[in-house]
């Protein structure tokens, strides 16, 4: 096994570590750094649960190696809310619209929608829904996720009191 030293920031905090070359970024975030909000649900790049942002781009952390993230700025679900606990608009929209049930797929979905909106704060419903096509949710039937997208696109308010 070959080990490599990497340095990266996660949610703005610097980390350095020695990692095996074969360790995925997702496993590294969870096992070595304790960011267990990132979930691994298929580990073969289909379900999107493991999505994190790497230098602002949504990446499947099960398909990316930790060593590839050397020097990168990584964002996980733990870093979305403001320091005072105020939810990110994407988190708030999911909450307002019953966009999650078991919550296992949710961190990846939240990250994907966040990166879409960071790239283009005026992203359309269709653009966000297209980005969602890379995510599998077994619980919700996507109803609340679609309503959350509408809320984020400025159409319709959340339904939860």
């Amino acid at each position: 096994m070959s080990e490599h030293r990497i340095e990266l920031t996660v949610n703005g905090r610097p980390h350095s570590a020695r990692v095996e070359a074969r360790m995925s970024l997702g496993e590294f975030l969870r096992e070595e750094l304790g960011y267990t909000g990132t979930h691994l649900a298929c580990e073969h790049g289909v379900c999107g649960a493991c999505t994190v942002s790497v230098d602002g781009v949504a990446m499947r952390s099960c398909l990316m190696l930790a060593v590839q993230a050397d020097g990168a700025d990584v964002g996980t679900v733990e870093g979305l809310a403001a320091a005072d606990g105020t939810l990110h608009p994407v988190q708030q929209a999911l909450r307002d619209n019953f966009g999650l049930q078991c919550g296992f797929c949710t961190p990846g979905i939240a990250i994907t929608l966040t990166t879409v909106l960071t790239d283009n704060p005026r992203a359309s419903e269709a653009e966000m829904e297209a980005a969602m096509s890379g995510h599998v949710c077994r619980c919700t039937g996507y109803q609340g996720i679609r309503r959350a997208i509408r809320q984020l696109a400025g159409h319709g308010a959340g339904e939860a009191a």
Partner: protein, 907 residues
Amino acid sequence: MNVQRSVGATRYVGQRTARKEDGRLLVGRGQFTDDVRLPGMLHVTYVRSAVARGRIVSIDTEAAREMPGVHAIYTQADLAALPVQMLSFFFAPIEAPVTLLADGRVACVGEPVAMVIAESRAQAEDAASLVEVTIEEEAPLVTIADARTGPLVHPGRDDNVAAEMGDEDALDAIQPLIDGAAHVVTQTVHHQRIAQSPMECRACVASPDGTGEMTVWMGCQSPHLAARYLSLALGLPAESIRVIAKDVGGGFGLKNIPWREEVAVVVAARLFGRPLKWIEDRFEALTASSHAREQEATLTAGFDAEGRLTAGWCDYACNNGAWPMGEDANIAVHMFMWPAYKLPAYGFITRGWYTNTMGLGAYRGPWAMETLLRETLLDKAARRLGISPVEIRRRNLVYLSDQPHTSTLGVEVNDITPGECLEKLVANVDIAGFRKEQKEARRQGRYLGLGFAAYIEPTGAAGTMAPMTGETAQLRIEPTGKVTAMLSTHSQGHGTATTMAQVIAEQLGVLYEDVSVFEGDSAIGAFGPGAAGSRQGVIAGGATWRASQLLAEKVKVVAAHLSNAGPDAVTISGGMVHVEGAPEMSRSLKEIAEIAYGEPGRLPEGMASGLEAQFRYQPPPVTMTSAAHCCMVEVDAETGFVKILRWISSEDCGTVINPGVVEGQIAGGLAQAIGQVLLEEMPYDARGNPLAATFKDYLMPAISDVPDFEYIHANTPAQTIGGMRGVGEGGAIIGPPTLVNAIADALSPFCEIEELTLPLTPARILDVIEQRDVSGTRDRANRDEAARARDEMAEAPPLASEVSAQGPQASIDGDWNMTLKAPMGGQSFLAHFEADGAELSGYLSAPDGRQDFSGGTFENGRMQFMVKVDNPMKVTLKYDLQAGADTITGKCKMGMFGTAKVTAVRV
């Protein structure tokens, strides 16, 4: 919205209250099993069989043991040090000889053969790949058809029938009725195998805490049920096992009970003496977690000239695989096929078959086939008779005005509303407009379809099967005035902390924000089976409802005493306690609580200090939910693709605590239904290999496959505390026929879907449009048929050898302890026999009564007699036993409930 309101309280029940669970799940602070890490914890991986059937010649672990980080490699020989009896969901012993790891033979691909314990999951996987398992491969039985004719899956059993109920002889009475009908319609469904696929795969962490204690974190549907299961399976005291499952990423029936891998982790942790963690990967989840559905069934129904049902017969078979989580012939399919319809006569034969495939587990609405068979048959019949799908249902449904109504199988219904749901649906959907559009579209070569379905569902079952019990709610108002609830509920996404907090806030008169709910831990609350059979809203909801009322009553008595008023003058709202006519006497709950805890001398004489209440709710045995759905589709005649245009649900789930949660349950079930009809399939090849090993092969519905669902809530409160009806499974039950009927309607200008084979892939839809075998489904069936015929000629299947006792006949007179092993649990009672020559009489006696019998026979040690039972249903039990000197063994035929094994020993 038609929600039952209680008087005077702040409205929480019926509101789309934001979920309590989201606070942690949205920020990545949930606690799923893989998030648990303990000091000294090691990781487990399984070596699995790549062969479907055969004898294990050797398991060579030498090279694997040398790998870095490896601590131990266990086979069944090692785990056998701790005896385990695997049980079904009903806590009945599994009949197939299932062990935690393969014991000498393998019976399906994916069966766990050895277990590697290492420092990391990666190291365990490295080592597992070096364990060499040599298996003498035998030709496997893959399909139900194979099972009917092939050799025994489990040597030593009589045949490959895993479970059987119903009565083939009853066809003699039904057939003339069908033959005499004006119209006879038959529907055959080949239902594919489903992988339940919760997004969180199975997971287990077991920590042996000293000699007598054990803490287990497990992805399960009820920590209470998991703890009870483990204690029974391992023969340990229940209090020595604590199961924690704070967050679970979906269950859908798969996680009903711990299965081989989870139990093996618990056993290995005890043997090895260190905490162990097993996290299943998706490949294992798809190919080696229990599967669901795979069924073949034919329903035939007769109709009179007006389209009224006259008689029905169903032949049903399901693939149980090698090691089902309980042998199952799915009696519920037949029990719940007809109570919502006026059908004068019905009979069935239903069997579960062992094969060399992964075992059968539960999946949302395990009996859903009844709705699929019936509702697709009704639409076929409507087309045949030239009446509308709504009209054929109107002529046959049991409306409220027809109730109470008892089905031919003895199921009584007195508050079901499928007809009323249908009327509400019809009133809200412009059917005439759609038909016009459909006609117009057809002229342009576009094929639109409209499908309807109606159903009822038994929810909230309690008191008739071992694990299906009531639920307990324990509440207290803390000295801070805030409320803590300790509940037996469990959420794998159900949002029980939210809905239960809404009930408490409303019934107690406190703020929703001031209610904390604790659940998901077998040390919290009391026994309850969690999410199983759409029951938590009904039963835990009722328990919480009443416990809140009890606690409110105590607060009122205390406040009245402090204010020198009557308890009736006291109201609680928004966390404040008011006394009618004395606004100056208003106090916060906190003030009252401080007195109740800190100054008990100020409480009424004899009252216990503190503010606590507990209630265990035992609801009626079952609570019925009803619904009618419709959907509209467009089928592309060129490509066979189906686009769902609209989907409307009209459902009666009684009191709705939180419409956001209720609609979420329906939508999740409907999405799974869409997957089942159009996308998902776990196929096997002829060598018994499961072929969908990744999410690229197993097609899960994505956002683009699922339309926006529309809801009409047509709710009538149930006769339960709070009036809730279960809603967890309904979407997955009514969804498939709704969509199939819409597709069939769209295809009607071409042809009828003669036999329904799921999923309806584009190729299978082109089969109907082009009237040729585009998908190859027929070709495959023909080839299988031919291969089977060859096999049958080549070798006759080994038949069970009849056991016949020879030698002198021993006396059987006297008392015996007799045990009946039925699919839904065992039963023990006292049997008394008296033989007068060849004439046998006696009685069977249990705490709930005694049945006498006479007119039996006793010849050559063979005892045959019949006993009539009225409870819970009328049935004649036919015993056929063989007596030895001190033991009796044999079988009891229980009418449509199948056959039970009987053993008896002398008292």
